[in-house]
């Protein structure tokens, strides 16, 4: 049956509109060009001194600004000086390139450290479960990396950073001017990025790829957190769906709101709430998203068989290998040296040393607090809780690490160490949400705590101009950075409280809605027989620790 003339015309029109929509942005003359070979990134415009003052003075554009006469004079002075010293200007181009190169090296290498955390988490969670599920745990951690990465490559990165140049251009990496469009939202009210799908076109750029590598391993961290709560009873196919969901939607959406220049980062200027929502390296963007997603999945799946007796009392399933648990925790600590300091996206930001020290202090304070608290409560220090305490401290310091003093880091670590212990007992005994590795307490609860701690302990020594607020002066002080309640900024505290809570609601709610539907269509939990036997053989056809095979020698 042939198409009617009217329908044919409609299809032609739609095709034309579609092609225009696809090609036009790339062909507009004023669109920045991507730099896949890295030969056009970094020049005299990216040269700054230690305080962040630019070498090259840009031409002032806002003729109505009160500073216009001064800016115009500065620009004219620069132009005339540049004309007198052409070699210096050429040298500045090299300096700018080297600065960007330094920061690329920093960002990529700290990203590799974060990648190594995958191994740490795999060991940690595998050690915490029963021997019959060791292969299953390892496969979950492994497949998490593989499939979430592919989802993030396809759409996740574009959703999260497709519009980063609008409000949050990473100057340390050259700005990535090509990623400048929202799919949903615009200006300071962006909700979802819209450029860089499949890392093609505007994302096929050296600076963008540097950011991609760094950000994908952060997404992976959120992806593997859920393993800790859903293990020993989730089917592999359902798990893959979870990972695709996290990599494509759950993580990138909130990530766009906070790090992609989206609306939550802008409420400092749009709603006068401090510097907007601040999360330096991802207590909420990464850890709380993972932790509360894990909580929703654990609720849907239900507790492991035999976890709760008829009287409702929890039963212990002791870890099968404490060696893995401790080794895994140390690897995570080591990787966190990439996670937190790396989040400056540049070695030229010398706050990295303070970040590194704060991170370690919170880690050890968290572990000590958890260990001592548990000792007082139960009479013996629990190895697994000491490890969870360290991780809790690390999770909680992840948001405030750049904005607080070392002593505040210790306090934050202690608070997290206490919270994780109470959280584990709370879930074990009160909510009865079965969480084999404590993922909900370590990452969910302590992630929320970390973001709130920014709003309490930030002391204003760093972060001047964060999220575009207070670049010249803040709260009456020039150069004042992100500030918390203790140092006089109550609006920042409210902003942090609201944003962190929103993160928990988003991660739990979206996951619960989507996967309740999935579970109704096809149950995500293995059958009781499989669960009793252990998932290694029924799911993967092999054991992590096979009995010595009887081999005939020919």
């Amino acid at each position: 049956m042939t198409m009617s003339a009217a329908r044919r015309r409609l299809y032609c029109l739609l095709l034309a509109v579609g092609l225009y929509g696809l090609l036009a942005p790339a062909t507009r003359a004023d669109e920045p060009k991507p730099d896949p070979a890295g030969i056009a990134t970094g020049d005299k415009t990216t040269v700054v001194d230690a305080a962040g003052n630019s070498f090259a003075v840009p031409a002032p554009t806002d003729k109505n600004s009160p500073d216009y006469p001064k800016n115009k004079k500065d620009f004219d002075d620069y132009q005339s000086q540049a004309a007198k010293e052409p070699l210096a200007v050429k040298l500045a181009d090299s300096v700018g390139h080297i600065r960007i190169a330094t920061n690329f090296a920093w960002t990529l290498n700290t990203g590799y450290l974060v990648l190594f955390m995958q191994a740490g988490f795999a060991l940690l969670t595998c050690g915490l479960v029963r021997k019959k599920n060791a292969g299953h745990l390892m496969m979950l951690n492994f497949a998490a990396y593989v499939f979430a990465f592919l989802a993030y490559y396809a759409v996740g990165y574009a959703f999260q950073f497709g519009a980063v140049a609008v409000n949050a251009a990473p100057g340390n990496l050259g700005g990535i001017p090509t990623l400048n469009q929202y799919l949903i939202g615009s200006g300071q009210w962006g909700f979802l990025g819209g450029k860089g799908f499949f890392l093609a076109g505007p994302a096929y750029d050296a600076g963008s790829n540097c950011l991609t590598l760094f950000e994908v391993v952060f997404m992976e961290t959120a992806g593997y957190i859920i393993v800790g709560a859903i293990c020993e009873r989730i089917t592999f196919w359902a798990f893959l769906l979870c990972e695709l969901f996290i990599g494509a939607i759950l993580y990138p959406v909130f990530g766009c709101w906070v790090w992609g220049g989206g609306w939550l980062s802008q409420i400092g200027s749009t709603l006068n709430l401090g510097h907007g929502y601040v999360d330096f390296a991802g207590s909420t963007v990464v850890h709380a998203v993972g932790g509360f997603c894990a909580m929703a999945l654990a609720v849907i799946l239900g507790p492991r068989l035999g976890k709760y007796g008829k009287d409702g009392k929890p039963r212990a399933f002791p870890a099968h290998n404490l060696v893995y648990v401790v080794t895994g925790t140390f690897i995570l600590l080591f990787g966190w040296m990439g996670f937190n300091p790396g989040s400056t996206l540049g070695a030229t930001d010398l706050r990295i040393s303070v970040v590194a020290v704060n991170t370690n202090l919170a880690a050890v304070a968290g572990s000590a607090a958890a260990l001592l608290l548990w000792y007082f409560m139960f009479g013996k220090p629990d190895v697994t809780m000491a490890c969870n305490g360290m991780l809790a401290g690390l999770v909680a310091i992840t948001a405030p690490c750049a904005f607080v003093s070392p002593t505040s880091a210790v306090v934050i670590g202690v608070l997290a160490g206490i919270l994780v212990c109470l959280g584990v007992l709370f879930n074990e005994r009160v909510t009865k949400i079965d969480d084999p590795c404590g993922a909900i307490s370590v990452h969910g609860f302590c992630g929320w705590l970390g973001a709130v701690c920014v709003g309490i302990f930030a002391d204003g020594t760093y972060g001047s101009g964060w999220n575009g607020v207070g670049a010249t002066s803040y709260l009456g002080h020039p150069g004042q950075g992100v500030t918390g309640l203790i140092h006089g900024d109550s609006r920042q505290f409210l902003c942090q409280l609201g944003g962190a809570t929103l993160c928990a609601l988003w991660a739990f709610g979206a996951t619960y809605i989507v996967f309740s539907v999935v579970n109704k269509i096809k149950p995500m939990r293995v059958s009781p027989e499989v669960e009793r036997e252990g998932l290694d053989v029924p799911e993967f056809g092999m054991q992590a620790y096979p009995e010595d095979a009887v081999v005939t020698v020919e």
């Binding site: 009392k313 039963r315 212990a316 399933f317 002791p318 007992l425 074990e428």
Partner: protein, 112 residues
């Protein structure tokens, strides 16, 4: 012929072996077992949940003996395994119908 099974504490294996070697017993088999008797286990806490460690690891020694040697072997094992505390273990002696040495095909006492 008799079969002598003994359940002993794992840490007393060396002592029992010495006593047995001293009386000329040159063959025995060990199995790792778990069990409890009057010694009982104890309870521990793991991440807030109480659990019972009921089954205590032990070793089971299996020795074959000609009828006339049973008494001295039982005494040797007991001497090596006794600490005086609860959990020292037990020795059971059961009759054996047949023993065959696989390499040579010998049967009976000469196969022990």
């Amino acid at each position: 012929m008799k079969r002598i099974d003994s359940i002993i504490r794992p840490q007393n294996l060396d002592s029992v072996k010495e006593h047995l070697t001293a009386i000329g017993v040159e063959a025995l088999t060990i199995t790792e077992v778990r069990g409890f008797g009057r010694q009982k286990g104890h309870s521990e806490f793991y991440r807030g949940a109480e659990y019972a460690v009921d089954f205590v690891p032990k070793l089971m020694l299996t020795i074959l003996a000609a009828d006339n040697r049973v008494d001295e072997i039982v005494k040797a094992i007991a001497a090596g395994a006794r600490t005086g505390k609860m959990g020292d273990g037990k020795i059971f002696v059961t009759p054996l119908d047949e023993v065959v040495r696989i390499r040579t095909g010998e049967v009976g006492d000469s196969a022990i």
